[in-house]
Each structure stands twice: as structure tokens, then as C-alpha cells.
């Protein structure tokens, strides 16, 4: 399973776009990239998943360059309620059992 590296913390202001980059130099051919969000005192929540190029849903966008050694989670126009920890995960999630390896995550703080 590929190890991921992401910033420990980030600060932003309401209304700004936030980009959180995750590096995963040892990503394997079968690996997918998945992002989770966790609010205090709650379990993590799935945000988005991708394999290559760009994926967008109602919450976020995920940009993956051609070499797939990094990925960027983009949150458009954040609000105070986006303050949370964001985890980048890489793995062959399609495998039976689907082991997810959570790293330290990025603690995003959105200020008014």
C-alpha cells in the first residue's frame, strides 16, 4: 500500500478555494486515490475517489496528474462548516476486504 504525505494543517478564510495536495510516490497501477473528511467527534465520511485526470462531484474536485504521484483535493468557496480533518488514502480498494490506510490527515481550519 502506497504511503501518503499531506500537510498537517492549513488555514483558510470563508469563500476561498482550498487545495490540499497529497503525495504518493509509490502508487501502484491498481491503486485508487480516495479522500475522506472527518469532523470532531464523528467518524470519517467519504468525499471523492479517482484513478486519473479529474473527478468532480457536488462536494469537491480531485485532480490527478498523468504520473499519479500526487493528487489535489479542491474545495470551492469553503465555509466555516468545512473545518475538518481531510485524509488522503491510496490503495487497491477494489480488493476483497478493501483495507484503507489512513495517514495523519490535514487539519483544515476555516476562519470568518
Amino acid at each position: 500500500l502506497a504511503k501518503t504525505t499531506q500537510p498537517i494543517s492549513m488555514d483558510s478564510y470563508e469563500g476561498q478555494e482550498v487545495n490540499i495536495t497529497c503525495s504518493h510516490n509509490n502508487i501502484a497501477t491498481n491503486d485508487y486515490i480516495t479522500w475522506y473528511q472527518q469532523f470532531p467527534s464523528q467518524g470519517p465520511r467519504f468525499i471523492i475517489q479517482g484513478y486519473k485526470t479529474k473527478v468532480t462531484n457536488e462536494v469537491a474536485s480531485l485532480f490527478i496528474p498523468a504520473d499519479r504521484k500526487s493528487s489535489t483535493l479542491s474545495l470551492p468557496r469553503v465555509s466555516l462548516s468545512d473545518t475538518a480533518v481531510y485524509y488522503c488514502l491510496v490503495g487497491d480498494h477494489g480488493n476483497q476486504g478493501g483495507k484503507l490506510i489512513f495517514g495523519q490527515g490535514t487539519e483544515l481550519s476555516v476562519k470568518p
Binding site: 467518524g43 477494489g94 478493501g98 490506510i101 495517514g103
Partner: protein, 111 residues
């Protein structure tokens, strides 16, 4: 909406006690997982199960066991609780590995 429930939000147990943490999901998911979360260490996988009566060790299975007698229920057992098992325990379920649905967590304190 998928719902994953855990038997307790907060639990206090004494050292040496046998502790049962229950998790129930209502979406007929094959895969279920138990994690623990500690400050500075993130989430770590204890055990997972991809079918009834099947179980696989995660990264930190020592001191724990699991039981899955029914598809919707996955139990984590601490055979003899110790203070270093004080933690937040999170259960999750899912069809495919990458999209897991987490319960609210059980904050266990072992004194």
C-alpha cells in the same frame, strides 16, 4: 441513507474486564471494519470482515478479537482490557473497499 450504529458513545471499563463493542449496519454490506483512532496516530485498522464468519487481521490486532455471526453485525472484543486500549473505536461498513460508511464511534476509557 446508510446507517452504521455502535452500541455506546462512551464506555468506561476497568483493567482486566472483557469488553464488547457492537456495530450494526443496515445496508446489507459484505465488508465491515473496526478501527481505533488516537491523537497523533490517526486511524488504524484492527480487524475487518468480508463475509459472515470471515475475519482478517488488520494492522494492530493484538489484544482484540472479532465476531461476525450475522451479516449486519460485527463485534469487537477486548478479552482483557488494558489502559493502552483507551481510545476512540470506529466501526465501518461498505460494499467496495474505498467507500466505507463509519459509525459515530465509541470512546472507551480503561481505568
Amino acid at each position: 441513507d446508510v446507517k452504521v450504529t455502535q452500541s455506546s458513545r462512551y464506555l468506561v471499563k476497568r483493567t482486566g474486564e472483557k469488553v464488547f463493542l457492537e456495530c450494526v449496519q443496515d445496508m446489507d454490506h459484505e465488508n465491515m471494519f473496526w478501527y481505533r483512532q488516537d491523537p497523533g496516530l490517526g486511524l488504524r485498522l484492527i480487524y475487518f470482515s468480508y463475509d459472515v464468519k470471515m475475519k482478517e487481521k488488520g494492522d494492530i490486532p493484538e489484544g482484540y478479537s472479532v465476531s461476525r455471526e450475522k451479516k449486519e453485525r460485527f463485534s469487537l472484543i477486548l478479552e482483557s482490557a488494558s489502559t493502552n486500549q483507551t481510545s476512540m473505536y470506529l466501526c465501518a461498513s461498505g460494499l467496495q473497499g474505498y467507500e466505507q460508511y463509519f459509525g459515530p464511534g465509541t470512546r472507551l476509557t480503561v481505568t
